[in-house]
Symmetry: C2
Subunit: 271 residues, 2 copies
């Protein structure tokens, strides 16, 4: 649900290539979630991922897994050594896990995804109990397979986080940032808020684009995303379509905080 945003200056673009029309007036850069916050939020709302492990010949092996998540954000797997990834982990616990947001955009590359890289460990003591519960919650047959000798519980000790939110929107974070980050409480309401804004408040989105996003020549605007820090817009101008980000005055702190925050933004644009 992200849209084309800031061009990456590192691209070897052809001379004079224009990504999208720039703002005509200076606009405050809208705050957004950190890569670690994006990752924590994606994991909190998913149980399916792709695991990359090392096969016995040293080549990288991609496989689908179902995962649980511990309160500190660590992903949990419960896998069999009958599966290649299970055997791989026993031999070499270095791995990464890719979690993607549900793809709703016609262009999947505009969809959010995160890779968590690190090393899997077999948890012990209280951590094992906690991990087991997290795995069972995600796996309908988890409790059944607990009786099988070929299944093991693994917890990923996350060492680095790479988030891609769409074209030109990406970033990295380290283990400490990932542990410290929190899940965006507004995430479960984001899709509904975006639909509601586009269906019933096109006028407010246009005013926000003209007054707060730096596009006084905007002729129409749609919301393409929203989170506790602000909203993403796709703005029509006579110069072409432009993506923009507008931040809230204060981050929304509760699940139902998006409505109040967008009303504030609309008021500010009207003032």
């Amino acid at each position: 649900m992200s849209t084309l945003r800031a061009p990456n200056p590192d691209h070897q673009a052809p001379e004079g290539f224009q990504y999208f029309p720039p703002p005509l007036e200076p606009a405050e850069p809208g705050a957004r979630r950190t890569p670690a916050e994006e990752a924590r939020t994606l994991l909190a709302h998913s149980t399916v991922a792709t695991l990359a492990t090392l096969s016995d010949d040293g080549t990288p092996w991609a496989s689908m897994v179902v995962f649980g998540t511990l309160p500190d954000g660590a992903p949990v797997l419960f896998v069999s050594t009958l599966a290649e990834h299970g055997r791989n982990l026993e031999r070499d616990a270095r791995a990464s896990l890719m979690v993607a947001a549900p793809i709703t955009n016609p262009d999947p590359l505009q969809s959010g995804r995160v890779t968590l890289a690190g090393r899997f460990v077999k948890p012990e003591g209280a951590r094992e109990e906690e991990a087991r519960e997290a795995a069972y919650k995600a796996m309908p047959y988890g409790r059944t397979y607990a009786k099988f000798g070929d299944f093991s519980l693994w917890v990923l000790e996350v060492e680095r986080v790479r988030w891609v939110g769409g074209y030109g929107i990406m970033g990295s974070d380290d283990a400490a940032a990932y542990k410290a980050a929190t899940v965006d409480p507004t995430a479960p309401n984001a899709d509904h808020a975006v639909s509601h804004l586009n269906e019933d408040h096109a006028d407010a989105l246009l005013q926000i684009s003209q007054k707060l996003a730096g596009y006084p020549d905007a002729t129409a605007a749609v919301a393409t995303g929203i989170d506790r820090y602000g909203m993403d817009l796709s703005i029509d101008t006579p110069r072409g379509k432009a993506p923009a980000r507008v931040g809230f005055a204060e981050p929304a702190t509760a699940a139902d905080g998006l409505r109040g925050a967008t009303v504030e933004l609309a008021k500010k644009a009207r003032a």
Copy 2:
């Protein structure tokens, strides 16, 4: 859309563990698609995958990619060296690609997925042109990025195929089998055929289960999948729920061949 099937004898199951009630009468094992055919069919209907590559420290890196497919089944990527996977491929072209069917089952582990492992090469000559067209077809911005110096075209030379269709349903194939396999022509109609069978032909499914699948004590049955070789059933019995596979007399060869094949099966069960 697969369901619990044959138990894997290699599982370290607890003594006396029963996966599901066995058939009461001998039934012909229903033919099914080979792992290579499953892979060719999955790739033909998807453009999103997870790539596993090797990062500079030798650890496996999972990342989302959009891919095209060549007529011989080889997947094509068009990626930037600004992305970690793009840099990884330049350094070490060994990789694997995981493609999953859309997840419709409440238990994602019952859903089909395939891993293709091999080595990426930069295509040349006519192969390059063909690969470029395949990539553009899958990537909305492909033609735009063709002008960027940091993008490269890669074709996976598939060395091995691993398919998992659900619990206990899996298999492997080699490069030759993958190249020789064809896409199941009935795949685009499978979801509709399953819905139609379950909505309008519960009686026929029950008869097929009782007469052809080896479950004379079946009390109800639903179709959980269908393909050119036959159908998958989930059968209710007083002894519990059982998965079963029933093959068609002849494989369906055309896109619209599922109707005729299931009518034949229903007739055979009634006879």
